[in-house]
Amino acid sequence: MSASLTLNKITAQKGITIAEAANRVADLGWTPSYVQEAMTFPTDYKISKTPRDPMKQVLRSYFPMQEEKDNRVYGALDAALRGDMFRNVEPRWVEWMKLFLAIIPFPEISAARSMAMVGRLAPGEELRTGFTMQMVDEFRHSTIQMNLKKWYMENYIDPAGFDITEAAFGKCYATTIGRQFAEGFLTGDAITAANVYLTVVAETAFTNTLFVAMPSEAARNGDYALPTVFLSVQSDESRHIGNGHSMLMAMINDPSNHQLLERDLKYAFWQNHAIVDAAIGTFIEYGTTNRDKNKESYAELWHRWIYEDYYRTYMLPLEKYGIKIHHDDVAAAWDRIVKKNYVHKTAQFFAVGWSANFWRIEAQTEKDFEWFEHKYPGWYAEFGDFWKWYAKLSVPGETNILFNSDVGYVYPHRCWSCMVPCLIREDFVCDEVDGKMYTYCSEGCRWTHKVAFAAEYEGRATPAMGRFSGRREWEDCYHGWDIADAIKDLGFVRPDGKTLTAQPHLRFDAKDMWTLDHVRGHQLGSPLRGFRALSPIEREVAVADYRKGFTINPCH
C-alpha cells in the first residue's frame, strides 16, 4: 500500500464548494407577487443594502456540529456526577445559580423569537440562513439551560429555589431586571431590539462576561457543569455576532440611519451595563469562595472584555462610517464599576433583601474582606461593617436586616429604566415623563426612558419605538403588605409551608433556618409612592438628602 494512500483519497468525490452551497441556499427566497408577506414588526430604520452572511454555513453541516457539541455537554454532565462533583462544589456558588438560571432561559428564547423580527427585514436571503441557525441555537440555549437547572435541582444539597424556578422568575424583584434585558430583545422597533440591543451589544459585548468570565469562576468553585454548558452556548455566539455585524453593515452606509444607530448603541450599551454588570458582577465577586489575588476581578474582566475587546476593537471602528460613539458612557460605566462600587452596592442590596429572595446568600468573611480590599482599595471601609452586620443578623430571632435600624442601611429607590435600584446615591436623578414623576439610577437611564423610548427622537418621528410599561416598581406590588405575607404570596416558602426558601447563610439544619414567623411584623412600602407625594420643594430636599447617601453603623 502506498504511504500516501488514505481513506479520504479513496472515498473522495467531487462535491460542491461551501461558497456554492451557501449561494444555492441563499437563492431559495423570492419576492412574493401574488400576496404580500405578512406584516412584520416595524422599524424606523431603512435597510436597502443586502446583508452578507459571513459564516456561509448550511444546515447540513450545522445540525451534526451542534449534535456533537451536545454530546460533549451531556457526556460531561454524566462525568461530573460519576466524579462526585457535588461533594466538592461550593454551595455559596450554586445558590446564586438559582437566580441566574431562573433568568437566563427566557432571554435566550426571546432571542429565538426576535429572529422572526429581523428575518423579514433584511433584503435578500443570504443572512436568513444565519438567522435560522440563530433561532435554533437560541432554542438550544433555552432548553439546555433548563436542563442544567433541573440537574442542579436533582443533585445539589438544597433544591429549594430550583424547584420553583419559572414561577420565581415571574415574581422576584431581581428576575424582573433580567426580564427588562429579555423583553428588550423582542419588543418595540425590530432593529433596535433584535439587531442593536441583542446582537450588536448584548451578544457581541456582554455575553463574554456572562458566558466566558462567569464559567471560569464556576470552575474555581468546583462547578464543572456551568462551564461545560455555557462555553458550548458561547461557541454559538460567534455566529450571532456575525449576524449582528452583517446587519449593522447593511444599515450603516445609509446616513439616514445614523441618528437612530447612535441612539440605540447608547441605549443598548448603558442598559446592558446597568443590568448585566449588576448581576454577573455580583455572581462572580460574591458567589465565589476563591480569593486568589492573582485572578482577575470583575473590574479587570470588564476592562478586558468590554473596554478592550468591544469598545476599542468593535465600536471605535464604527466612527469611520460617521457614527458618533458614546465615549463618555463607556467611561462613566467604568467609573461606576471601579470608583463608585456599582457591583458591591448591588450585592449589598441583594443581601439586604435576602428574605424576599429564593436563594441563599452567605455572609462575606475575613478572607473575602482581604481579597476585596486588595482588588478594590477602600472596600473594607465602606462594606466591611455591613457584612459583619449581615453575619450577625443571619441567626433566626434577630431582626431582619431589611428592617433593622441598627445597621444604618437606607432602602433605595428603584430605577424606572434598568429596574436595578438607584444604588449609586450621588448619581440619583428624577424626571417627569408624560406628567408623572419617575426615579432613575443614573442620567443614562433617565435619558433611556424619557428620550430614547419615545415617539420622537431629536425632532425625528420614531413611530416604531417601544415604550416602558407594566408595574415596573416591584415594591409597589406589595405596598403596605407585611413581608411575611408578601413572601407567602411570592411562593418563596419551602414545602413545609413555613420555612423560607431564602436563608441568610449556608447552614443546612432546620434549627438554623428562618421561617415566616421570624420575619413577620414589618411592612413593605413603595419608595416611589412617597416620592411622588412630595411637593416640589420637599422633593428637592429629598433628592439632595438621597444623594448624600448613608453610613453603615459600626458592628461590634
Binding site: I16, A21, E67, T132, F139, A160, A168, L186, T501
Partner: protein
C-alpha cells in the same frame, strides 16, 4: 410525624458535602419542578424544559410585561390570533421536542441524506436516471424546494407570536424541519448536477417563478406567508397545504415514481420530509383539537378554522390540480394523478374529521 419534623430535634447536621442527601432539612427533598400541572401523572423531560419559560401575567408574571409596542401591545398578546383559548397553557407538543432530541433527529437525517447521496453518486447512480426523470427533478423538484422554503420562513415568522412557550417551540421546530428539507433538496440537486451534464440548477427557480404548473402552488404558499394570523399560518401549513400539495407531490409522485425511473436516491432524500410532517401534523392536530374543543370558545374556533380551511383548501386544491401535467412527464408511469389526488383528499378529510371541521365540497369526493 414527618421526617422533616424529626430532623428539627435531631443532632445538628453539619454538611460537609454539597451533594443531594448530605443533610435533611425542610425542602431538601423537593427535587421536581413544582409550578405547573403535568399533562400525565408525571412531568416529562420536555415539559420540564418548556413549560412557563415564556411567562404570562395570568400565571406568575407579577409585574406584567414591562415593555410594550408603541400602540400599547405588550411583548406577547393573545390578540395575535383570532382563535381564543380558555387555557393557552394546556397544549403540549406531541413530539416532545427540546433541543437535544431536535438536534439528534436533525443530525441523523442530515447523515442519512448525505450518505445516500454520496453512496449513490459513488456508484454512478445519477447517470443511470432516466433522462426524462432528470428533467422532472431539475424543473419540478427544483421548483418545489421553494415551496418548502416558503413554509419554513412562514413558520419562522409565526414562532414569534404564540402565547406560550409550548406553542412557539412547536412552530419553531416545524420551521427548522422545513428549512432543513428545503436545503436538503437544494444541495442534493446541486450535487447530482455534477454528475449530469446539462443539468441546470437554476431551472427550478425559473419554473417556480414562471411555469404555469407552479403558479398555483406559489400563490398558495404566498397566501400562507401573507397571513397576519400566526395560527392561520400554522393551520394552513399542516392542515391544508401539506396533505393537499406537499404530500401529494412528495409521496404521491416523487416517492412512488422515482424507482421506476432508476432513481433510488430521491425517495430517500424526500422520505425525511414525510417523517417530519408526521410529527408536525401530530403537534398541529393536538393544538387545534384543544382549541376546537375549548369549553368556552370551541364553537367560535371551529367556525374560524372552517373559514381558514375553506380559504386555503381552495388555493391548495387549485395548486394541486395545476400540478397534474407533471405526472405525465416521467417515461415510466407508475401512479396516476387522480389516484394521488384522491389519496390527498382522503388524507385531508381524515385530518378535518379529527378536528371536527367541515370539509369543503370540492374535497368531499
Amino acid at each position: 410525624m414527618s421526617a422533616q419534623a424529626n430532623t428539627a430535634t435531631a443532632e445538628p447536621t453539619v454538611a460537609k458535602s454539597g451533594a443531594a442527601g448530605a443533610a435533611v432539612f425542610p425542602g431538601s427533598d423537593s427535587r421536581k419542578y413544582n409550578y405547573f400541572d403535568p399533562k400525565g401523572r408525571k412531568a416529562t423531560h420536555y415539559e420540564d424544559m418548556t413549560v412557563d419559560v415564556q411567562p404570562d401575567p395570568e400565571r406568575y408574571l407579577l409585574q406584567d410585561w414591562i415593555i410594550s409596542f408603541p400602540d400599547g401591545t405588550p411583548t406577547y398578546s393573545k390578540d395575535w390570533t383570532a382563535a381564543k383559548s380558555s387555557n393557552w397553557h394546556k397544549f403540549r407538543a406531541v413530539d416532545q421536542e427540546w433541543e437535544r432530541t431536535h438536534y439528534q433527529r436533525q443530525s441523523t437525517i442530515c447523515g442519512m441524506v448525505q450518505n445516500t447521496i454520496e453512496n449513490g453518486r459513488k456508484s454512478g447512480a445519477p447517470a443511470r436516471f432516466d433522462p426524462a426523470w432528470v428533467k422532472v427533478l431539475q424543473n419540478h423538484l427544483g421548483a418545489y424546494k421553494h415551496a418548502e422554503f416558503g413554509l419554513g420562513t412562514s413558520t419562522m415568522q409565526a414562532q414569534r407570536y404564540g402565547y406560550t412557550q409550548m406553542v412557539n417551540n412547536a412552530i419553531l421546530t416545524n420551521s427548522s424541519y422545513k428549512l432543513r428539507f428545503a436545503q436538503d433538496v437544494t444541495l442534493y440537486l446541486s450535487e447530482i448536477a455534477l454528475d449530469l451534464p446539462g443539468f441546470d440548477v437554476n431551472a427550478g427557480k425559473q419554473h417556480w417563478l414562471e411555469d404555469p404548473i407552479w403558479q398555483g402552488v406559489r400563490k398558495s404558499i404566498e397566501s400562507v406567508m401573507g397571513s397576519n394570523d400566526y395560527l392561520e399560518q400554522y393551520f394552513a401549513t399542516n392542515v391544508v397545504f401539506e396533505p393537499l400539495v406537499g404530500e401529494l407531490f412528495r409521496s404521491g409522485f416523487l416517492m412512488q415514481a422515482a424507482s421506476a425511473q432508476n432513481d433510488f436516491i430521491t425517495p430517500a432524500v424526500v422520505s425525511a420530509a414525510e417523517a417530519d410532517y408526521e410529527r408536525n401534523l401530530a403537534n398541529t392536530v393536538e393544538l387545534f383539537h384543544i382549541l376546537g374543543t375549548d369549553p368556552a370558545h370551541g364553537a367560535n374556533n371551529i367556525a374560524l378554522f372552517n373559514k381558514w380551511l375553506a380559504k386555503h383548501a381552495e388555493l391548495a386544491l387549485d395548486a394541486a390540480n395545476r400540478l397534474q401535467p407533471i405526472w405525465s412527464q416521467p417515461r415510466v408511469k407508475v401512479v396516476s394523478f387522480n389516484e394521488a389526488l384522491s389519496q390527498a383528499k382522503n388524507r385531508i378529510r381524515g385530518i378535518a374529521a379529527e378536528l371536527g371541521l367541515t370539509v369543503p365540497t370540492a374535497l368531499a369526493s
